[in-house]
């Protein structure tokens, strides 16, 4: 870098540029928060959905699965599992409930989490709500 471009100019670009983009980012965040209710259908977040999210978190489901594409890549995407399972909460609940404790020989298998019926129901409800978020048509197909 040559002599006409001084350290002071570089410093001003750093502080000025950063501050500018922080402010733009905060402005966009404000706007996102304002329009988000139309996309996340928060009116459908019942107490059951809230409990379901807690069950999701307290069993570290994200440690194997992705949810809306984020998480681990060891097990299937679950943002659309409700649709993949034919819109059946019962199917989701049954799948989780009947995991073999000792796993499946040579295969990946979901652990047995010993969830109560209430927790199972809530988790399925949470996944149903998640599947209804407007994700701009992601994932590309039912397989997630």
């Amino acid at each position: 870098m040559n002599e006409t471009f001084t350290k002071a100019m570089a410093r001003n670009i750093f502080y000025g540029g950063s501050l500018f983009f922080i402010l733009v980012f905060l402005g966009l965040t404000y706007h996102t928060e304002k329009v988000l209710p139309e996309r996340d259908h928060r009116e459908n977040i019942t107490e059951e959905v809230v409990l379901g999210k807690k069950v999701w978190e307290e069993n570290n489901c994200i440690g194997c699965h992705t949810l809306l594409g984020e998480g681990a890549y060891f097990a299937p995407e679950l943002g659309n599992v409700y649709t993949r399972f034919g819109g059946s909460k019962e199917a989701i609940m049954a799948f989780i409930k009947y995991r073999p404790v000792e796993g499946v020989e040579g295969r990946r298998s979901m652990p047995q989490f010993n969830l109560s019926d209430e927790e199972l129901e809530a988790l399925a409800e949470f996944l149903k709500w998640t599947s209804e978020i407007n994700t701009s048509n992601w994932p590309p197909n039912i397989q997630g």
């Binding site: 670009i13 966009l28 988000l36 570290n60 194997c64």
Partner: protein, 482 residues
């Protein structure tokens, strides 16, 4: 090394490298679970191994950053550290808290751990990378505050340099953004939106400031290039990092329910995120080319150039590969993401921490640089780890491309698990590359135990003598010409 208190960094570096070893071991367990699904099941299910793998990474890098700051700040500020005692106390607090957390992950079912540690009071657990129990999170905040206070007081009472200011902004930013880990809205979309304020604004934001200042510090020391030049580069690198990186957060807002203008913003700004990394590569190579002294620590120079190149490849190129929204629509959350994650973290952060360790550790042991034999082993470690990581990335990329094709792109998309079976060969190859990586790490760690102080002194004297003779030769020639 000019100040006695810089030596507290040694503890931090040793812990960092120990945890790094742990991270790699758990990485190998996970890699095997990818192909032998019931390996260690149900004792260590995949999710637990992954949590240990990623949390160890974060913790060892934090140890590395803190050690780097404790080493650099007194030297930059030209004064002793405000309180070496506080640094030592915080070290043990962080190490014990970290160890207990990892043991908790391994020994107690996660749901039980959540219950035991008060997750009901303020649910923060169970989110990727932020799995730590509430108590650990509070511990991290306390350690971070004490640490920032300690180095901050040192900066305030001493010389202020650009390197120390950028490092401080990075470290304060790190501490402040972590506070968002306590914010866990019940609405998943908002949860994800602010979760990225920790994760993205760390690794593609304030951590780049830390990276830049560590690199600049080592380059000043080993090349002897004028501070004015180095600081100008540093300002431009971190300016580009934040100018592109802050709105670049948008590349995580494509498919989580956020409005669609993020697809444009995120694509455009994150497409520019490679710029600061490319500048880092240019920076490292330029400074080394223009060096005004021959430093005996050639290994540190290798790490400095290596981190520039690998950060650009891993964070820059592999990030760009899947950051544009129309591409990301198909690649989001596949093995391509994993490929990028591995090389980016290794190239940018693991390598810069090993760079500062390579420079600082011999000094703290009373040597200018390690003996030749030790440096050769260290460089073997460098190449083994780096080349293995390139292969890990290539195999995961291949796995990702096939996965995207079979599961997302064809007219008859296949189920996730069917696809996983079809790409198993790439997972086997990745595991093999991982074993080589572990070997490289072994050689690297072993290099610390090679060579005595006397041997190092003799080797260093040779390098310095050669430089001096060369300098004398040149001046005699110049005199002769005149």
């Amino acid at each position: 090394m000019k100040y006695e208190s810089q030596k507290v960094a040694r503890l931090y570096f040793i812990a960092a490298l120990g945890l790094f070893l742990g991270q790699i071991l758990f990485g190998l367990i996970m890699g095997l679970q990818y192909v032998i699904g019931d390996f260690m099941f149900p004792a260590i299910p995949f999710n637990v191994a992954r949590m240990v793998h990623t949390n160890l990474l974060i913790v060892w890098l934090l140890f590395g950053f803190m050690g780097a700051a404790y080493f650099m700040i007194p030297e930059e500020s030209e004064t002793e550290l405000w309180s070496p005692k506080l640094a030592i106390v915080l070290f043990w607090v962080f190490l014990v808290a970290g160890a207990l957390t990892i043991l908790g992950y391994l020994l107690v079912p996660y749901a039980r751990l959540a219950e035991m540690t008060g997750n009901d009071i303020l649910p923060t657990m169970g989110r990727e990378f932020l799995e730590q129990p509430l108590l650990t999170k509070i511990g991290i905040v306390i350690v971070a505050l004490g640490f920032v206070f300690n180095v901050g007081m040192t900066v305030l009472r001493g010389r202020k340099t650009v390197i120390s200011s950028i490092l401080m902004i990075g470290l304060i930013g790190l501490a402040v953004m972590f506070l968002f880990s306590f914010y866990n809205p019940e609405n998943l979309v908002r949860d994800k939106f602010y979760w990225w304020w920790v994760v993205h604004l760390w690794v593609e934001g304030v951590w780049e400031l830390i990276l830049g200042s560590l690199l600049a510090f080592v380059l000043i020391k080993v090349t002897g290039v004028d501070r004015e030049v180095i600081e100008k580069w540093l300002y431009m690198i971190v300016a580009m990092a934040l100018i592109t990186g802050i709105l670049g957060t948008g590349h995580h807002y494509f498919w989580i329910g956020a409005p669609e203008y993020w697809q444009w913003l995120g694509s455009v700004f994150s497409a520019m995120e490679p710029i600061p990394f490319f500048m880092m590569t240019l920076f490292a190579f330029n400074m080394v080319n223009k060096r005004r002294r021959e430093h005996p620590n050639r290994a540190a120079i290798l790490w400095a150039m290596g981190t520039g190149v690998m950060a650009f490849l891993g964070a820059g190129v592999w990030g760009f590969l899947h950051t544009l929204a129309p591409v990301n629509y198909y690649t989001h959350g596949t093995q391509l993401t994993a490929a990028h994650g591995h090389m980016a973290f290794y190239g940018a952060y693991a390598m810069v921490v090993m760079c500062i360790i390579s420079y600082a550790m011999p000094l703290m042991r009373g040597r200018i640089a390690n003996s030749n034999r030790s440096q050769v082993a260290e460089m073997w470690g460098f190449w083994l780890m780096t080349v293995s990581m390139v292969f890990i990335t290539l195999f995961l990329t291949a796995a990702g491309v096939v996965q995207v094709w079979l599961q997302r792109y064809t007219e008859t998309p296949l189920p996730f698990m069917v696809v996983q079976d079809k790409i198993a060969i790439f997972f086997w190859l990745r595991e093999l590359a991982g074993v080589f990586f572990l070997g490289g790490l072994g050689v690297y760690l072993w290099s610390f135990f090679i060579g005595t102080d006397a041997e190092a002194a003799r080797d260093n004297a040779k390098v310095l003598a050669k430089v001096n003779t060369k300098a004398t030769d040149e001046s005699t020639q110049e005199t002769a010409r005149a």
